[in-house]
Amino acid sequence: MSLLVFDGLLLFSIVSLAWATLTSSDERLSVILFMAFGLVLAVAWGRLLAPDVALAEAAIGAGLTGALLLAAVRGQPRPLLPGATHAPRKQGAAGVTVVLRLAVTLLSAALAGTLAWALLHAFSSTPHDLLPRAISENLEASGVSNPVTAVLLNFRAYDTLLELAVLLTAVLGIFALDQATPGYQPAGPVFDGLVRWLVPVLILMAGYLLWVGAHAPGGAFQAGATLAAAGVVLRLAGRSRTGLPDGYMLRIVMAAGVGVFLLVGLTLLLLGRPFLGYPPAWAGSLILLIETAAMLSIAATLLLAFLGGQPESTGVKAAANRQREEISRC
């Protein structure tokens, strides 16, 4: 009974936070509401006994996406007067906005309907526990004891490889955006003190999440997001390179996830096994190897997305610093 009340409150908070996020007129407030929405959604995933998804939602959905959106809002020119947030729009633009909103609403409704139909279909078809049973029967051969990691890195490793390829494509797009915007001012003593111990703890936590993913909730995506969070904290504290390596090393880190994945798959192919069909004795080590590379790539991708372009290279740094000094003198 009390859990039912809790679930009801949770559902109500999710829907009302989503509504408030969409209808808020202040972009910054909207982003903050979105982050709260992500955290409550993570609790909901926890209630659905999906701690892996809850971790990913809290770290990537609420944390990093929130930081990304806040950085985007910061990058936009803000009106000087608080009353003048709404510049009068042109009549034609307003019409386009209404049509666009209607289209997005209809598409979202269609998507929600399709998902609901698929879910109903999955539950009504017998027997609906076919996949879970297949996973638990073959878990021993997968090299890990966490079924989520077994699916992501072994049974459906193709999907994860393609996901990493999508991330690589995205980061190439970010690289095409030229230099990142100049960073933040150096932090004061209080924030700097926090950064000094928080960043090492975050790095340690990323390693822990990566390792624990083999037998408990965790894995490359959660670990990568935690590592990227350390970089975000560093950037907010005014360290412009945010721990990313320079030059070729950065490119290697960016491509490591897809590269190691492909290398493992192709080597297995040469040894006469199916592509990404790990021998059970080696599966655990191979999964850890791939996940380590994937974590580094995911962290670099998320961090580069937060930077919004290539990080300053050491040669350009001096010039950029000079430019910033000129701006601050004005």
Binding site: G188, V190, F191, G193, L194, W197, L198, V201
Partner: protein
């Protein structure tokens, strides 16, 4: 015995959360709201975690819970400081 003690601690934690939230809604200006929110919530979380550690079977779980409390303490103290400093700067126009 442990159940009663842990329930008392958790209820006390919830009380401080409630007080902090009421303070956030009712207090007149930003500084007092920040004060109410961060101080009361830090204490509330501490009591909540103290209550939960009594139920934890493993030392590792207890250490993780304590790490969460320490991280939230440091983060909320720092963010309260940053928000208050920014507000102060905007007020003085510096």
């Amino acid at each position: 015995m442990i159940d009663i003690l842990s329930s008392i601690l958790i209820l006390a934690g919830v009380f401080f959360y409630l007080a902090g939230s009421i303070g956030l809604l009712r207090l007149p200006d930003l500084y007092s709201r920040l004060h109410a929110l961060t101080k009361a919530d830090n204490l509330g979380l501490g009591l909540l975690i103290a209550g939960l550690t009594l139920h934890s079977p493993e030392l590792l779980t207890i250490l993780k819970l304590l790490l969460i409390w320490l991280a939230v303490l440091a983060a909320s103290a720092t963010s309260a400081h940053l928000i208050a400093r920014q507000a102060r700067r905007q007020e003085t126009g510096a």
